[in-house]
C-alpha cells in the first residue's frame, strides 16, 4: 500500500487518503453509483418542475428547487451509504480491511468522504438549474450559492446516518430502512404532529429545541440567503455524532 513510512503505522492522513481513493474507485466501478446519481437528478428535476411548479412561480428564486433536497436525501443518501459497511461484512473483505495499518477513525472518515464526494458530484451535476435561473432572470447568486453549500452540509448528515445504520446491521435492506426512518424523523422534527406531542409530554421548551434540531429548519435560513454559523455547526454535529456511532458499532463487530 502506498503511503507507509516503512515499519509501523502510516500517518493518519496518508492512510485515510489511500483508503479514500480506494473507496471512490470502488464506487465508480459499480453501475450502482451512476444509477443512483441519475435517478437522484431525475427526481430532483421532476419534483422542481412538476410539484414545485417552478415556471408558475414566475420567479427565478430557486426555493422550489432546494425545498426538495432534504426529502430526497432521506431516501437517497441511505441508498448509497447502506453498502458502506454491510457490503464489506458480507463479502468478507472487512477482516482484510481491519488488518490494514489504518486507524479506525481514518477508515470511517475515508468512507464518509468518498460517499460525500459522490453526493457532491450529484449536486454539481444539478448546476444547470443555476445556469437556467441566471439565464431566465436576475437570480440571487449569493442565495443560490448558499443553498448549495447548506445542501452539501445536509447531505453529509444523512450519509453519516446511513453509515451508522450500515455499521449496526449487515443486512443492507434493514440498514436502508433504519437510516431512512431516522433521517425522516430528524427532518420532520419540525412538523406540527411531532412538535405538539413533545410539547404536551415534555413541555414547550423541549418542543422548541427539537424543532430547532430539525435538519429542515437548518436549511430554512439558508434558503432566504442567510448563512448562519449555528446551522452549519448543527449539521456538522449531526454528522459527527453518527460517524462516531458508526465507528463505535463497527468496532464492536470487529471485536465480536
Amino acid at each position: 500500500m502506498s503511503g507507509t513510512h516503512g515499519l509501523g503505522e502510516p500517518g493518519f492522513m496518508a492512510g485515510m487518503v489511500a483508503l479514500y481513493r480506494r473507496e471512490l474507485d470502488q464506487s465508480f466501478r459499480s453501475p450502482l453509483a451512476y444509477v443512483f446519481i441519475a435517478v437522484f437528478l431525475l427526481a430532483l428535476g421532476t419534483f422542481t418542475f412538476e410539484f414545485g411548479r417552478w415556471f408558475e412561480t414566475n420567479s427565478v428564486d430557486l426555493a422550489p428547487f432546494f425545498a426538495f433536497h432534504p426529502w430526497l436525501y432521506v431516501v437517497f443518501m441511505p441508498a448509497i451509504a447502506m453498502r458502506a459497511w454491510a457490503d464489506e461484512t458480507r463479502s468478507g473483505t472487512i477482516e482484510l480491511l481491519f488488518s490494514l495499518p489504518v486507524s479506525l477513525p481514518a477508515m470511517v472518515l475515508a468512507k464518509f468522504l468518498a460517499l460525500w464526494t459522490v453526493a457532491a458530484l450529484a449536486l454539481v451535476l444539478s448546476l444547470p438549474m443555476w445556469v437556467t435561473a441566471a439565464w431566465l432572470g436576475p437570480a440571487d447568486h449569493a442565495a443560490i450559492a448558499l443553498g448549495y453549500v447548506m445542501s452539501l452540509m445536509l447531505a453529509g448528515s444523512y450519509i453519516a446516518i446511513g453509515m451508522a445504520a450500515s455499521a449496526l446491521t449487515s443486512a443492507q435492506v434493514i440498514a436502508f430502512v433504519l437510516a431512512s426512518l431516522v433521517g425522516f424523523v430528524l427532518t420532520a422534527a419540525g412538523l406540527p404532529v411531532v412538535g405538539r406531542g413533545i410539547a404536551e409530554a415534555l413541555g414547550p421548551s423541549a418542543s422548541e429545541l427539537v424543532a430547532r434540531l430539525s435538519l429542515l429548519s437548518q436549511f430554512e435560513a439558508a434558503q432566504r440567503g442567510v448563512l448562519e454559523l449555528r446551522a452549519v455547526v448543527q449539521c456538522l454535529a449531526v454528522t459527527a455524532l453518527f460517524l462516531a456511532l458508526s465507528g463505535l458499532w463497527i468496532a464492536r463487530r470487529r471485536g465480536g
Partner: protein, 639 residues
C-alpha cells in the same frame, strides 16, 4: 476487543453530548451570521440602531405567545422564534433601556384577560383555545402601544413595526399634520380609511382641514395637500404663507385622478386636480395638462378580449418605474426596494428659481407618451392607451423635491376670503392677524415635495387586501416623504426591507416581443375581419331589399352577387383562422423555452450519467479488463 457494554455506554454518551451541545449552541452561536438576503432581512438597520441608542426613559416590551399551542403551526412558530431573536438583539443594542418579557397566558387565566384587554388579538386557529401572538409596549409614563398580532406575512416589515413602536413610545407626541384633501380614503378614519390613511394617522396627529377653510393651523409641522377642492385665492395665499413660515409641504396633484372620479355628468371633471395657480408660478413648477404613459414601465393587467379569453398585457398608463429611475441619494427614494405603482400620473415642468434647488425624485424612461387627461381618466385598455399616446422622447418627472428659500406668490394686497358670513370673515381676519405678520420670503429653509399622481394613494394600486400586505412601495414612498419633511430621517430607511422581486425576465421579454411582433398583424387582421363582415352585411341587405323574398340568399341575386357573398364568407373564415393561429403564436415562444428548460434540467444530466455508467460497465466486462490492482484482486478472491 470492545465489550458490548462499553459500546452502548459510549453511544449513549455521544448522543447526550450531542443533545447538550445542540441546545446550547443554538443560542450561543445565534448572532453569528452572514446576511446575503435581498433586503438584508437579518441585519439591523442604522435607523434602528439610532432609535435604540436614543431611548430616553426605559421601555418594556412584552411578547405574548402561547408557546405550546404555537408548536402546531410551523410558520407562526418559526416567526415567533425570529421575533424573539430580534427582540434580544434590540435589547442588546439598547443597553438596558429596553426590557423584553415573554408572557405565556394560560387559557381562562387573569393574564389572558389582561393581555386581551390591552389589545392582543386572540386568533381562532381551530383549536379549543385561541392563539395569542402579539406585542405590548409600555413606557415609563404609562403609555401602552400594542401590535395585536405579529403576522408571519409581515415579516419584512417586522423591523419597521418594532422600531416604530419603540420610537412612538419614546416620543409620545406625534408631529402635527394638516391635511387638505378631497379623497375619501384619506379623509376617513378607522375601517373606512385607506391603508395610507391609517398609516398616516398612526404616525401623525392629523388635523383635517375643511374644503372651505379660511385659516390654516399654522402651528402644524407639515401641510399635506392631496387632490384638493378648487382653491380660492385666499386659500392659496394661506398655503403660500404656511410654506414660508413652517417650510414643510407635500403636494399631490393629478390631471387624471381615476380613483377620484365622481359619478354623474361632471364625474370626469373631478378627476382633474385643482390648479396651484399663482403658487406654481412662484415656485417655478407647473403640472402638465396630459397624463403620462410609458410602455416599458407598464404594469401587467388582465385584458378580456371580446371572445371571452383573457390575456395579460402591460398597461402603459399604470407605471412602475424601476429603482434606477429614482434618485438614489435622496432619503425619500434611496431605500425603496420595490417600485411604486403610479396610475395615469401627470408630470412636472420645473423652471429654476434663485435660492431653490430642484431634485427630481422619480422619472420615466424616454419612451414616455402623453395621453390626453380626459381619455386617461376613463377605463382604457392597453391598446387604446397606446393609440391615444403621443411620444415625447424625453424622460418626464413624476415627483420632485424643491428646497431652499422661497419667495411669496402674493406681492400685492392680501386676497379676500370667499364671500360668506360677514362675522365669520371678520373673525378669520383677526385670526390671521394673530398668527403673525405676512412673510414675503421663507423664514428658514423650506422643503417642498411635489408628486404628480393621486391614484397611487389608492389601495387598489398597491395593497393585497386579503393578506393586508403591500405589494409595492406606494405607502412607503409617501410616508418616507412625510418622515423626511418632519425631520425623522432615522425611520425613513426602515420601511422597505422587502427583497426585490426576481421575475423570469427572459420569459416576460419573450411574451412582450411576441406581442409587439404580432399585435400589428392582429390589429390588421381584425380590421380586415371587421370590413369583411360589414361588406357581408351590406350584400345581404342589398339582396334583401331588391327582391320580394328575404332571408334566403342563394335563391336571390345575380350569379355575381352570389359569388361575391361566397368569396367574402370564405375570406372571413380564413381571417378567423389566422387570428387563432396568432393567438397560439403568442404563447409558442414561451412554450418552446419552457420545454427546452425542462429537457435540459430533468433529462440531460441523468441520461449523460447513465451513458457514462453504461460505458464503464461495458469496459469492465471486456475480456482482459482485469487490472493488476490489490482492490479488485481482493474482490475476486472474496466474491
Amino acid at each position: 476487543m470492545r465489550s458490548t457494554a462499553f459500546t452502548w455506554i459510549a453511544s449513549l454518551s455521544a448522543a447526550l453530548a450531542f443533545l447538550g451541545w445542540s441546545s446550547v449552541q443554538q443560542s450561543v452561536l445565534a448572532p453569528i451570521r452572514a446576511d446575503f438576503s435581498g433586503g438584508k432581512l437579518y441585519t439591523v438597520a442604522p435607523g434602528t440602531r439610532a432609535t435604540l441608542r436614543a431611548i430616553g426613559d426605559p421601555i418594556t416590551l412584552e411578547l405574548v405567545l402561547n408557546r405550546e399551542l404555537v408548536q402546531s403551526f410551523p410558520r407562526v412558530r418559526a416567526h415567533a422564534a425570529r421575533v424573539q431573536e430580534v427582540l434580544r438583539g434590540y435589547a442588546a443594542l439598547a443597553g438596558g433601556k429596553l426590557r423584553i418579557e415573554v408572557l405565556d397566558p394560560e387559557p381562562f387565566s387573569e393574564l389572558e384577560d389582561g393581555v386581551q384587554a390591552a389589545g392582543v388579538e386572540p386568533v381562532d386557529v381551530g383549536d379549543e383555545d385561541p392563539l395569542h401572538f402579539g406585542l405590548i409596549g409600555r413606557n415609563s409614563v404609562g403609555d401602552e402601544l400594542v401590535i395585536p398580532y405579529l403576522a408571519p406575512e409581515r415579516e419584512t416589515m417586522l423591523e419597521y413595526d418594532l422600531t416604530r413602536l419603540i420610537a412612538e413610545l419614546d416620543r409620545p407626541e406625534k408631529p402635527e399634520l394638516a391635511l387638505i384633501t378631497d379623497l375619501p380614503g384619506l379623509r376617513a378614519e378607522g375601517e373606512a380609511a385607506s391603508y395610507l390613511g391609517r398609516e398616516i394617522r398612526r404616525a401623525y396627529d392629523v388635523s383635517l382641514v375643511s374644503p372651505q377653510f379660511a385659516s390654516l393651523p399654522m402651528q402644524a409641522d407639515i401641510l399635506m395637500i392631496a387632490h384638493p377642492h378648487a382653491l380660492s385665492e385666499h386659500q392659496l395665499y394661506l398655503i403660500d404663507q404656511f410654506l414660508l413660515r413652517q417650510g414643510r409641504l407635500l403636494v399631490l396633484l393629478d390631471p387624471a385622478a381615476r380613483t377620484a372620479r365622481g359619478i354623474g355628468f361632471d364625474g370626469l371633471q373631478q378627476a382633474r386636480s385643482a390648479s396651484l395657480g399663482a403658487l406654481g408660478r412662484a415656485w417655478g413648477v407647473s403640472l402638465g395638462a396630459d397624463a403620462v404613459a410609458d410602455e416599458s414601465l407598464g404594469l401587467p393587467v388582465q385584458v378580456r378580449d371580446g371572445e371571452g379569453r383573457t390575456s395579460v398585457e402591460r398597461q402603459p398608463l399604470f407605471l412602475a418605474p424601476t429603482v434606477t429611475l429614482t434618485d438614489r441619494r435622496d432619503v425619500i427614494t434611496a431605500d425603496l426596494g420595490r417600485p411604486v405603482n403610479w396610475g395615469a400620473p401627470g408630470h412636472w415642468t420645473i423652471e429654476s428659481r434663485d435660492g431653490v434647488t430642484a431634485t427630481p425624485l422619480v422619472r420615466t424612461t424616454t419612451m414616455a407618451m402623453l395621453v390626453p387627461a380626459e381619455l386617461a381618466a376613463r377605463d382604457l385598455n392597453p391598446r387604446q392607451a397606446r393609440q391615444a399616446g403621443r411620444p415625447t422622447a424625453e424622460a418626464l418627472t413624476l415627483a420632485v423635491r424643491l428646497s431652499g428659500r422661497f419667495e411669496t406668490a402674493f406681492t400685492g394686497a392680501i386676497p379676500e376670503p370667499e364671500a360668506g358670513d360677514e362675522l365669520l370673515r371678520e373673525l378669520e381676519r383677526l385670526g390671521a392677524m394673530a398668527s403673525g405678520e405676512r412673510l414675503s420670503a421663507s423664514a428658514g429653509r423650506g422643503e417642498l415635495v411635489l408628486v404628480a399622481d393621486v391614484d397611487l394613494l389608492d389601495d387598489g394600486f398597491y395593497v393585497n387586501a386579503a393578506e393586508d400586505v403591500t405589494v409595492a412601495d406606494n405607502a412607503s414612498f409617501i410616508l418616507n416623504a412625510l418622515d423626511s419633511l418632519s425631520g425623522s430621517d432615522a425611520l425613513v430607511g426602515l420601511r422597505s426591507r422587502a427583497p426585490s422581486p426576481r421575475p423570469m425576465a427572459r420569459i416576460e421579454a419573450l411574451r412582450e416581443a411576441a406581442r409587439d411582433r404580432l399585435i400589428a398583424e392582429q390589429t390588421a387582421l381584425e380590421a380586415q375581419l371587421a370590413d369583411a363582415e360589414a361588406s357581408l352585411q351590406a350584400l345581404r341587405a342589398k339582396n334583401a331589399s331588391s327582391s320580394v323574398f328575404t332571408g334566403s340568399l342563394t335563391a336571390d341575386g345575380t350569379q355575381e352577387e352570389r359569388a361575391e357573398i361566397e368569396r367574402v364568407t370564405i375570406e372571413i373564415e380564413d381571417v378567423r383562422g389566422r387570428l387563432r393561429s396568432i393567438e397560439r403564436a403568442f404563447r409558442k415562444d414561451v412554450e418552446d423555452v419552457e420545454r427546452a428548460v425542462r429537457l435540459i434540467n430533468i433529462w440531460l444530466m441523468p441520461v449523460l450519467v447513465l451513458l457514462v455508467g453504461g460505458g464503464v460497465w461495458a469496459w469492465q466486462r471486456r475480456p482482459h479488463s482485469r487490472r493488476p490492482d490489490t482492490a479488485s484482486a481482493i474482490d475476486r478472491g472474496g466474491a
